[in-house]
């Protein structure tokens, strides 16, 4: 299925969009990540898998700059992102969702998605207080953009509802909308299938693929749900105990003896 498409994007031919280079993270005496390297190419859906405690979330948090690697580097378009503070990651085109949904609970769906555009817009408190003409124009453009995304993810009906009152599945979609609002180049999804039922997971899989194809994004998918990863990822990286265990197409990784032993074998998936 997706492997056919992957063949058109041969790994290693072009410069990678995102390069993880020998990243290590140490907490106290515990090595959470140990020299992990992999590349992400434009348009790929990369699945990052591994059993609990394998270091998936640690790596994810390095990408969103919540953790500082003790060694190694992460390059976006050839430039290190490690000197950037967390709030300056969005502006270079890295958007993310959170494992347990981290929405702005008291804001409406509309406002949550509007905040998603923060990194792509400008303002200052004086102009905002006076609602100067350029602020009004900016807000008008912003609204058009935000409503387009709400329409895209079928959220128009709940646009004015406070997010804390929405069902979990809808909240997850709002989070996705918020991440899309900044038009990121790379979308980091932290366990998007968590808490969804069987059917919802496959709807989500189709949605992720649709977003990648239509909105020209590159997706990093950190996921427990093997079925989802194997059905939509072009490339899979398997971690265990902070080390890279295997890397390749879903089929390759799935048949890798080390992976079977560490993960698949023990988890009768």
């Amino acid at each position: 299925m997706m492997q056919a498409q992957l063949a058109q994007v041969p790994a290693g031919s072009a410069a990678p969009l995102l390069a993880v280079r020998d990243v290590s993270v140490v907490f106290g005496g515990i090595v959470a990540l140990n020299g992990v390297s992999f590349d992400m190419h434009q348009g790929q859906i990369l699945g990052l898998i591994g059993p609990n405690g394998a270091g998936k979330t640690t790596l994810f948090n390095c990408l969103s700059r919540l953790y500082q690697p003790s060694a190694g580097d992460i390059l976006m378009d050839g430039e290190s992102i490690l000197k950037r503070p967390p709030h300056r990651i969005a502006e270079i085109g890295i958007g993310r969702t959170f494992q347990n949904v981290a929405l702005f609970a008291n804001l409406s769906v509309l406002d949550n998605v509007r905040v998603g555009t923060h990194a792509r817009t400008n303002s200052d408190i004086v102009s905002d207080s006076l609602r100067l003409p350029w602020v009004r124009r900016g807000e008008a453009n912003l609204n058009k953009h935000v409503h387009e995304i709400l329409g895209y993810l079928d959220l128009e009906d709940v646009a004015h509802v406070t997010v804390s009152g929405l069902p979990f599945g809808t909240q997850k979609r709002v989070e996705l909308a918020r991440a899309l609002a900044a038009d990121p180049k790379i979308l980091l999804l932290d366990e998007p299938a968590g808490g969804l039922n069987h059917e919802e997971v496959y709807v989500l899989g189709d949605l992720i693929r649709k977003i990648r194809d239509e909105r020209k994004m590159t997706v990093l998918l950190v996921e427990h749900h093997m079925g989802l990863v194997m059905s939509i990822a072009d490339h899979v990286v398997a971690l265990n105990f902070g080390k890279k265990l295997a890397e390749g197409t879903p089929a390759q990784v799935q048949s890798d003896p080390a992976v079977i032993k560490a993960y698949l074998g023990s988890k009768d998936q």
Partner: protein
């Protein structure tokens, strides 16, 4: 409507409002405005003075509301910003002979700077710890104002007497054409304060509805997610402190002009706690509630005294308790209930 209901019945620690519910509709706004414009025409000067104080405290309560309801930061130190604003204005008027109206923006800017700088170290603190740090600021301020070094300007313990401004001659002459009397200083100051308050209220509403306001509220709800969206959490937290302090400073300056006097002991922690009380009674995060909160802190102590002179404090406490018990979300909850009742009446 339904969104307001949800928030009210939900009761999170810092109850927050979706932006739509943060303000009044046009109709209600106009009605309140008409009331604020008309009432002083029919009452005595002393009441006009009290109404002026109502507006001034409403500004200060609203400033705290922007900080707490908007950006989720607590402050028990608003009296310090109020004091700095009052003294800045008083010193400029009495030592610098500067027009009272011109001292207001200066007080606002000075307090913005003060609040912004205070917000920097306060960034490391949150919740109750931040409340404690601001509490320290409030306790320190009266003593700082008494310091001998500043005495040539501040007047030390004695404080400074401020001249109450007259109405400008053109306003006064227009007024006398209609009423046949000269416009009293109290009345002029009331309308002056009203104009300033409306300006600041509109600007605050604009601010909270803008990209900056959304950044404040995003931080209030989830700092990590806000940061991932590109919101510079440290910057916006200090900006919220600055804005809040700036508005409080303008309120302090207006207060100094209205009371005609500044002294260190007018700006103790009691004032800060009153403002905090006003915010809670008005409804945290609901800007129009500020005026209700302000009315509560100005008039309810008097009512309590009317009920029992010796036990006025206890009576005030009981009244406060009743309010918090019946409508924990303050004036906003009352507004929501009223809205529902009107809705029902219309249907039937």
């Amino acid at each position: 409507m339904s969104t307001v209901q949800e928030v009210v019945t939900e009761a999170p620690a810092i109850e927050a409002v979706p932006k739509k519910a943060m303000t009044l509709g046009y109709g209600t706004s106009l009605a309140v405005l008409a009331l604020l414009i008309l009432v002083p025409l029919f009452v005595k000067n002393f009441i006009i003075f009290q109404l002026t104080m109502l507006l001034i405290y409403a500004l200060a309560v609203m400033a705290l509301n922007i900080l707490t309801g908007g950006s989720g930061q607590f402050s028990l130190g608003q009296s310090a910003f109020y004091a700095v604003g009052a003294y800045t204005s008083a010193i400029l008027m009495e030592h610098g002979n500067i027009n009272y109206a011109l001292t207001l923006p200066v007080s606002g800017i000075v307090c913005f700077g003060f609040g912004y700088l205070f917000g920097k170290p306060a960034l490391r603190l949150s919740g109750v710890y931040l409340a404690l740090a601001t509490f320290a600021l409030a306790t320190a301020m009266p003593q700082l104002l008494k310091l001998g070094v500043f005495e040539p300007w501040t007047g030390g313990v004695q404080g400074l007497v401020v001249t109450k401004p007259d109405a400008p001659s053109f306003v006064s002459s227009i007024w006398s054409v209609f009423s046949g009397r000269a416009m009293s200083q109290d009345m002029w100051l009331y309308y002056f304060t009203l104009a300033v308050s409306i300006g600041i209220y509109v600007a605050s509403v604009n601010l909270l509805r803008s990209r900056s306001g959304r950044a404040f509220m995003a931080i209030r709800d989830n700092e990590i997610a806000a940061s991932a969206m590109g919101v510079d959490v440290a910057l916006y937290k200090t900006l919220a402190f600055g804005v809040s302090a700036g508005i409080t400073g303008v309120a302090g300056a207006l207060g100094a002009i209205a009371v005609q006097f500044v002294a260190p002991d007018s700006y103790t922690i009691t004032l800060a706690i009153s403002l905090f009380l006003g915010m809670v009674v008005g409804g945290v995060g609901w800007l129009p509630g500020s005026i209700v909160g302000s009315a509560f802190i100005i008039f309810v102590p008097n009512i309590a005294e009317g009920i029992s002179k010796g036990l006025s404090g206890a009576v005030f406490g009981i009244l406060l308790f009743v309010v918090i018990f019946l409508v924990p979300h303050g004036a906003r909850q009352v507004a929501v209930i009223a809205q529902q009742l009107i809705g029902k009446l219309r249907k039937s």
